[in-house]
């Protein structure tokens, strides 16, 4: 569920007729008013329906859960009494998404700047096209590529990280096994969210008004200084929005994670240790075999993912709003 794209704008009002020009509203206006108002209401109804469904089914499951739903590192809804919790899933989802963001956001900004401000048009256009192609690859293909190609290659990187950066704790490898871990998932997710972040930031960078760039140039700014003084500040809210779109995808990504990760219900701060899990991966892996109650339990975990996504989006909007008076939109 990606809520970053589903903000509802209030439906536009039909022009008001006043004074001597008062007359019957024209049919085109009324039809358009009805359509746009209907679309707005429809969106709210859908959101309410999803939230209601999730909450209702989750309520059934959580009320019978014998353990604390939020802190338990176990998933056994079929047991007697049922014991299940989302601690591992929340941890795995957040950690893999954070790794993905740390890798993808700077690279995406770099590519976007190269396309918008450095590359000659001859190169920029095909490059932008290639980035678009990256977005068109289905996620199951990414998963297969990750499992078959990326994992063996990352084994070497993992031992290298363990040897030289093991002292950082997070890169210390305590368990045996191939690189089917959260770190690999994070890298794969980074590649998957790269195109959307790149495309949105590139569009924003291209919209920086010429006069702001010229203001910096005329002061004797080099190209990098122009980017630092004019382009990045202007694109700031766009970069945040783009990152949230990418984060939304990373949080909810299912197939690629399910194919690459070898799941286990253990929380480990050592990113290179195999195991862990994410909300979406866990639902995909267990949904088919679960009974009615097991499905309710999975839906309860889905509700948590939904809430996390909402919170992340809300936080992003708050950051953008707080800086509004300095935003480039005032120009």
């Amino acid at each position: 569920m990606d809520t970053a794209t589903t903000t509802s704008a209030p439906p536009p009002r039909a022009p008001q007729q006043t004074g001597t020009t008062r007359g019957k509203p024209r049919p085109g206006d009324r039809i358009f008013l009805g359509m746009s108002r209907g679309a707005g209401i429809f969106l709210l109804v859908i959101m309410a329906a999803i939230a209601g469904f999730l909450t209702y089914r989750a309520g059934i499951a959580i009320s019978k859960d014998d353990a604390n739903f939020l802190t338990t590192s176990e998933w056994n809804p079929a047991g007697d009494p049922p014991v299940f919790g989302i601690a591992v899933l929340a941890f795995g989802t957040v950690v893999s998404s954070v790794i993905a963001m740390v890798i993808a956001v700077p690279v995406a900004i770099g590519i976007a700047l190269f396309i918008s401000h450095y590359a000659p048009r001859r190169i920029a256009t095909p490059l932008a096209y290639v980035v678009d192609l990256l977005a068109a690859v289905p996620s199951i293909i990414y998963g297969l590529w990750g499992a078959i190609f990326l994992v063996p290659y990352l084994d070497g990187l993992n031992s290298w990280l363990n040897e030289y950066l093991g002292w950082t704790y997070i890169f210390e490898k305590t368990g045996e096994g191939v690189a089917r871990n959260l770190f690999t998932v994070g890298i794969l997710l980074a590649i998957m969210i790269l195109p959307i972040i790149t495309n949105v930031t590139r569009e924003v960078f291209l919209q920086v008004p010429k006069m702001h760039e010229e203001a910096a140039l005329a002061l004797g700014a080099t190209r990098w200084e122009v980017i630092r003084m004019s382009v990045l500040p202007f694109g700031r809210s766009g970069i945040i929005s783009a990152s949230m779109l990418g984060l939304g995808r990373a949080l909810g990504e299912t197939m690629a994670v399910a194919v690459v990760l070898s799941p286990s219900f253990v929380i480990s701060g050592h990113l290179l240790d195999p195991g862990g899990g994410t909300f979406a991966q866990n639902i995909a892996a267990k949904f088919n075999e679960a009974d009615e109650f097991g499905r309710d339990a999975l839906i309860a975990s889905g509700l948590v993912l939904f809430v996390i996504t909402l919170v992340v989006n809300g936080a992003a909007r708050a950051i953008i709003a707080r800086r509004k008076e300095y935003s480039g939109a005032n120009a």
Partner: protein
């Protein structure tokens, strides 16, 4: 330090289109020189060749020489970025950095040039804002965004930003065309004060403005749309407006065309 500008045989292109053709003139230090002429005659293009901003436009290139005192701005080993640090520019539409405070806007050029101590920076910012006749209006809200000021105040902020780095020359590209008459008057008064310290070149569509603020006036024209712009004549402003030596200048000034 105001410097003399000496242009000889300057031709500028946009791609294969020749925008201005073979322009030569001298601009005296500590004076105001106005460029007038009909739209498309290349006066803005010419202005932008004086700080090497013309080549920023894709396809823009220049032939000829621009001497600042004795240094050719278009010599091979000259860095255009360094040129722009000594030749400041004010644009048609006020363009303070929208994401920066008033203080940071004025300090922007200084921070590019090097490091300053905090109190040193504050001192230069105050001096520049005073120099731009803006200090009294903004001294209580230096940390507020520059985009919150009125258009005329924003333009004076841009002038403060440009003079903060003590350029040799100040170029102004129709600085009042987006402003109301009162703000225009404020800027014109300011130009009168600034010319004691800087060499000022101003492009204007407003002939009364050229007559009011400038010491010398250059008239540009083009023979037809699509043809390159040419310098018709440059002379003391009084002479240009009272008794120009070329008929076309008189026609333009008296409103017979353009």
């Amino acid at each position: 330090m105001a410097k003399r500008i000496d242009v000889s045989g300057l031709t500028a292109y946009y791609g294969s289109h020749k925008a201005i053709d073979d322009i030569s003139m001298t601009v005296e230090p500590r004076s105001v020189t106005a460029f007038i002429g009909p739209s498309g005659c290349g006066k803005s293009t010419f202005l932008r060749t004086l700080n090497r901003m013309h080549e920023v436009t894709p396809g823009g290139r220049v032939e000829g020489k621009v001497l600042l005192d004795d240094e050719n701005l278009y010599a091979k080993d000259v860095d255009p970025v360094a040129v722009r640090r000594t030749v400041g520019m004010v644009f048609q539409r006020p363009n303070p950095f929208p994401t920066m405070s008033i203080f940071d806007n004025v300090a922007a050029g200084l921070r590019l040039n090097g490091t300053y101590k905090k109190n040193q920076l504050a001192e230069i910012v105050e001096r520049s804002l005073r120099g731009a006749n803006l200090w009294n209006e903004v001294k209580d809200r230096l940390n507020k965004p520059g985009s919150g000021l009125s258009g005329g105040q924003q333009q004076r902020l841009c002038i403060a930003r440009a003079i903060a780095v003590e350029p040799d020359v100040l170029l102004m590209d129709e600085p009042c065309s987006a402003l109301d008459p009162i703000s225009t008057l404020a800027i014109e008064d300011l130009i009168g004060e600034l010319k004691e310290r800087f060499t000022i070149v101003i492009v204007t569509h407003n002939m009364q403005q050229a007559a009011r603020v400038s010491d010398r006036t250059a008239f540009f024209n083009l023979s037809a749309v699509g043809q390159p712009g040419k310098l018709i004549e440059i002379d003391d402003t009084e002479r240009i407006f009272a008794n120009p030596s070329v008929q076309a200048t008189e026609d333009y000034i008296s409103g017979r065309f353009g």
